[in-house]
Subunit: 144 residues, 2 copies
Amino acid sequence: MSETNAGIENLTEALREAGIRVTRQRAALLGVLAAADDHPDAPELHRRAESEVPGISLSTVYRTLSTLESQGVIQRHQFEGAPARFEPVEPGHHDHMIDVETGNVLEFCSDRIEKLQAEIAAELGYEIVHHRMELYVRKITGSA
Amino acid sequence: MSETNAGIENLTEALREAGIRVTRQRAALLGVLAAADDHPDAPELHRRAESEVPGISLSTVYRTLSTLESQGVIQRHQFEGAPARFEPVEPGHHDHMIDVETGNVLEFCSDRIEKLQAEIAAELGYEIVHHRMELYVRKITGSA
DNA sequence: ATGCAAATGCGAATGAGTTGCAACTGTCAA
DNA sequence: TTGACAGTTGCAACTCATTCGCATTTGCAT
């Protein structure tokens, strides 16, 4: 628990220093985001934040998410055919695997793939600004 | 030219057999799509189709694109922060590299990456239904 | 404590895409 | 060739996710 709180303390401090006011609404969202291990979308975050800040509006949630994203605190993911989903930024980039049956998101990372990507881009005279890789997957059933 | 026409002939035939009427609007869109080597979005396809079928409506374009997509004739790509873009399906899957400065789309393919993706999914007990990989890139400048 | 720019809540607006519906038109059978 | 009729079209109205305008409120530096 102290870990999470410490993380949020640091964050609020950092935000304040970036000239961004830490309002009740924002604190609540930071808390909700830090506690989330799924990748919630805006309405879901709104729902969760409402228990801490009852009247919080959805626009505020959207605005805060944009702010936090541009501060590099969270990441926005636009998976196929679904509203944007968010996750706190942790050290170390990763990609996503979406279970097409449940909507669950797993994270993974492959240095080897990243390296190949960079090679391919370089061959064509480009450098990678960023990339997006999503595997839409289905659980392998024992029998079938 | 005969190549393109032959391709379209085959397609219209295939559509007819799938119980899908080949209307003027659809023929026009098939032609526009076959002729496109960029990855146009719906309004752009609408613009191009209008020269052949003057009154064609945007809804028809959207409807036709959905139809053609579900027939496996074209593919829809949802790149970051942009409306969907379309391309005819050609044999051989490929991924995309988007020049963030110009919006140009290059295609590429890497068996090695695909293999790694499958391995990663398999390790976690999943099989890949499909994937999406997009490299957002910038041209490497000689000096700078 | 106080001022004020920044942030909020509300509702209205946006943009991409979809849909209901009456009028139209490919297509297949005769 | 001609019907007939289900599939299509154009239009306008709608949805859904997200953004914006604006009057009111509120962090927070002083």
